[in-house]
């Protein structure tokens, strides 16, 4: 499987897919997209890389272990729910929105985006963990 074409393609696809996943993540705010699909894309970036260069090399590129990303994701998701509690004890999971203006462009932020970020990390971490563990056993 370790052909040169796949190696070159994987090396170039990885940054591309990672950036694209962030775009899809932010786009999910108002248009089709969202944390789950973006997380799948980010995970696939590393899975393709592992397919071309081997699991060990792909693991070195990860900033932390996949389990860390899963934990981080769940933490972010729960945290996004608790932000609403600022406005009263009954507002668990209530959305809070804010936007930052750059000239005539509004960067819209809110707890749903934070929740989506949590989903993003959890899904990416889980995908990488599951596929890497199967790949490792195979090798």
């Amino acid at each position: 499987m370790k052909t040169e074409i796949l190696k070159i393609a994987a090396a170039h696809l990885k940054p591309f897919l990672l950036v694209l996943s962030l775009v899809v993540l932010y786009r999910g705010h108002n248009e089709p997209g969202g944390g789950f699909i973006a997380g799948l894309m980010a995970g696939m970036a590393y899975v393709i890389y592992a397919g071309a260069f081997g699991v060990n090399q792909a693991k070195q590129l990860l900033l932390a272990k996949p389990l860390f990303f899963m934990g981080l994701g769940i933490t972010l998701a729960i945290f996004s729910g608790t932000i609403g509690l600022m406005n009263g004890a009954d507002n668990f999971l209530t959305g809070v929105w804010t936007s930052i203006s750059f000239g005539n462009y509004d960067l819209k932020l809110g707890t749903p985006l934070l929740f989506d970020l949590g989903v993003y990390f959890t899904v990416a971490g889980m995908l990488v963990k599951v596929i890497f563990s199967v790949m490792e056993e195979d090798a």
Binding site: L67, M70, G71, I74, T75, I78, G84, L85, A89, D90, N91, F92, L93, T94, G95
Partner: protein
Amino acid sequence: MTLFLPILIPLVSIILLIACRHRLKCQQWLSISAVLAQLGTAFYIFFNLGESGHLVAQAGSWPAPYGITFVADYTSAILLIAVSLVSVAAIIYSIGFVDQVRQRGGLFVLFQGLLTGVYGSLLTGDIFNLYVWFEVMVISSFVLITLGAEKQQLRASVKYLVMNLIGSMLFVAAIGLLYSQLGTLNMADIAFKLRSEAIPPLVNSAIMLFFIAFGIKAAVFPFFFWLPASYPTPPIAITAFFGATLTKVGVYVMLRFYSLFAQLDTAFWQPVIFVVAGLTMVFGVLMAASSYDIRKILSFHIISQIGYMLMGIGLFSVIGLAGAIFFIVHNMFSKTATFMAGGLIYLYKGTYDLKKLGWVYKTKPFLAFLFLIPALSLAGIPPTPGFFGKFFLLYAGFEGAHWTITIVALVVSILTLFSMVKIWNEAMWKPEVESANLSVKSVRPAAWVGTVIAVVFTLLLGLTVGFTYDYFAQAGQQLIDPMNYIKAVLPDLIVK
């Protein structure tokens, strides 16, 4: 907010458990303190139910039929307390019983994941949300049942996985049918629409699909065969926990759905429930009587006792429902305690096979005593809770003049007594088999502590029934007349 705590606490503890996954001691103490916190929350919810007996919270402050609602009434609060009590015992027991490899392999994370699903299913008031919590629970149990990946576990988990997934898919299909007819997912709203408008044609099919789906999850006749195939394979600490949570949540949902939806067509549903309940009881107990493995006998008994709970649902009187809920709680405690005592016998004798066991009473009298109490409770001897559970059910059965099911229940309890006596005779009183060359594992004190806690809970439930019965009756009353439930969830509703 309080209503979300039972879900938040296990979720947060999962994060912390992942953070300290290399330190086993830290994991063990964290899980114990997490379940103690859940226990506290459960009691807090129970004592704050208020005058109407309902506590309602809207996730994200979306008003009722649109957002996801969390509701606690006496039934769910009682079961919340029972589940958290059992999980205290089960987690302490598994610290002592389960091997280090499995404990490091994520046992405690999965326990908390399973508890998240159980608490969510008990509290949610939204039918699709219920599916999500069920899946949280079932996926955790998939991983728990394969944890350690022995040959038998893998084999058993295939059956378990397939049956549970078919159940889940039927559940989703039923949700789709119901939504297409009524356009709402809120359980109270569905119940209200069914009561105020003409019932659309597909609703009955949807309710039938629900019944089959939860029949699979609760292991009722004829969908029970996955349970005896899969429950005996993982370490018995995990089986004890499964027996106390998974099937019982299935029964709880049946109870809730019967109260909210199926009640409207009692003429059709009551005979169905009675037939299924009777056959479940009989098949479970007959298969238990023919087995010679402690784990298998106890697994078949789970099925048989599910039949009693169903019988309570079918009777649908205050005493009958109180009996059903009491029976669920009693079964959680007694079954867990018998499983745990059986596990201790295994640790000392190295086998679950009754033909090889012997003289536990002579060598370990205290262990025999620990086994005796929950076993008597399962058989229904006073003053154990099993007696009171059966008493309520039979009383309600005679009161409602449902003779057949009541007599079946009586006969089945004699057979239950027979198979408990069989375990006692074979394992405790029979002379030890000389030829048995069995490896004895080391016993850690936590296994004893867990068993003692479970047995004490069982005894206490039986002895305090005079004080607690009122709450069970109140729970039954709430289920019979769900109008208060509907009003609590949808306060703006104009009721004719």
